[in-house]
């Protein structure tokens, strides 16, 4: 059985206990929760029973241990996660505003995961890999971009496929080299997973339809647009369809898009049709927002099917 790989940041998330809580005043926080967009993605892949592996780094501390244990217990191959002495596992503090928006204080680009480097990727390490998922959020240094590039080259040589979730804040696009890096990954991408606000981000148009056409004319075989509480849309040369959202009580949206992406890629990898995979992914994302903690919301196939059954009734 072939493996899905990802590479990128592993962090703990520390969550404000109350809406309106500030970084500038003391308050109550909950955590640490296992997190990091690619880590959540790959945890979800493993939970659906596909072979899954992650390339990353953590510090030699409790926060790294927490993440490794969570990934391992959910079935992720952790043999390519390095523990770096004298470095601290990445972290993200998050506060919630009344309007649903969030603020973050990240320690990622100077944390242990900044130690991800090209030597962590080789033909040997990726020999079983037939699909590689890249998150835009992971490409925060030239070294990590080069590592992703090397991994993509190897997987492509082995006739594997690439999925790509831009997962990036607009402001960061203007940092030196970032847009070029994302455009490079996009060129190698088979399955593109932007959120609604990211659909046109890497094109020269503001028009969604034109952006989708551009992608389909430039080597991308399918696009799944994640629309949060508005569902999702699928585009390929052969078909186009929307999936309706599930209406659930939102507890914590963090990580829901990564669960959605992980479920979709896992089920496509298993051989399901895009429509079926997306139906499950949509339910998986809905379940995720009902759970506090970014990686706490990952689901098994059984849990997703139970949720879908309840929704039907």
């Amino acid at each position: 059985m072939k493996k899905i790989f990802t590479l990128g940041e592993i962090v703990v998330e520390i969550m404000a206990n109350q809406k309106g809580q500030l970084f500038t005043q003391d308050g109550i926080w909950k955590g640490p929760f296992a997190s990091g967009a690619p880590a959540i993605f790959i945890d979800q892949v493993a939970k659906l029973g596909e072979q899954a592996a992650m390339i990353s780094c953590v510090g030699n501390d409790g926060f790294g241990e927490l993440n490794i244990k969570k990934l391992q217990s959910d079935g992720v191959d952790i043999s390519n996660i390095s523990i770096i002495n004298d470095q601290t596992t990445g972290s993200a503090f998050v506060t919630y505003h009344e309007d649903g928006s969030r603020d973050f204080i990240f320690n990622i680009k100077n944390s242990a995961c900044a130690c991800i480097n090209e030597e962590m990727v080789s033909q040997n390490i990726l020999q079983d890999c037939d699909h590689l998922h890249i998150m835009g959020s992971s490409l925060f240094s030239k070294t990590i971009f080069n590592t992703a590039k090397k991994a993509i080259d190897i997987v492509k040589q082995n006739n594997g496929t690439i999925s790509f979730d831009p997962n990036i804040r607009k402001e960061i696009l203007h940092s030196p080299g970032v847009k070029d890096a994302l455009l490079f990954i996009l060129k190698q991408t088979d399955i593109f997973l932007p959120s609604e606000s990211e659909v046109t981000l890497l094109t020269n148009t503001d028009n969604e339809k034109q952006a989708i056409d551009y992608y389909l004319n430039n080597g991308i075989s399918s696009i799944v647009v994640k629309k949060g509480n508005k569902g999702a849309s699928y585009y390929s040369r052969k078909e186009f369809f929307d999936i309706s959202p599930h209406l659930v009580k939102e507890i914590d949206p963090t990580g829901a898009g990564d669960c959605f992406g992980g479920a979709y890629i896992a089920l496509i990898h298993r051989g399901l049709t895009p429509r079926t995979a997306l139906t499950y992914a949509n339910a998986c994302g809905a379940i995720a927002v009902t759970q506090q903690g970014p990686m706490q919301g990952t689901s098994t196939l059984e849990q997703i099917e139970k949720f879908m059954q309840q929704e039907k009734n």
Copy 2:
């Protein structure tokens, strides 16, 4: 009026809510609290009405803002604290064991305060400085050591004095260059403020009396040994005395030693005798352990005197 300066780390502290809480499981935390040993020290100096300034760096984030506001509102000159874009303010997570010991996860040496550098120190910046305090915990990079060295040279040239609190874990002593750095600072030191376990740390003897003699014979004019809940001891060529502890209910010991040191140096700077300064510092440290949050325990002269009055009754 002349100023007391310090340089070094500014961090926020995030404290486990319960004894026995782990880094590897989610739980409840309290914070962020303004922290960093030299920051607590200088906050205490300012609270006692002495002119006080700090040289440091924070990130352009809420945690940096919290610290700067706290220091400024307590009277510290913050004009030499730089706000560094693209860096995160340092942080320390702390858990408490049943036996009173603590565990930490630090993000300091790759945080904003690692940006402290020699250009932040000059004859002009230190023109009003007649006393400089150095914490061993701040000397975590060659660049910061060189910055401290440059500051010491300038202050000494201007006939100022140096105080030094080794404030360092034994394990770190064996890191390359650390012991040499501490020994260099020790040579320049006028007032030495080790904790009980640190008295012999930078000598070739295990005998306290011999270590004290060595210091007094090598340019140090006075030594104050901080003994926590056992009080403190004072040594100079002229006199030796102990100060009895205050018996208080310990809420949080973090930062108490820094409050003690800040109070002692502030009051010596004001011209009080060592015995009087130490009596106040001893009370100041006792008050600090009754407050949660490392920098929350700093006291005004009025608060210290009120506490001492209550203790008498």
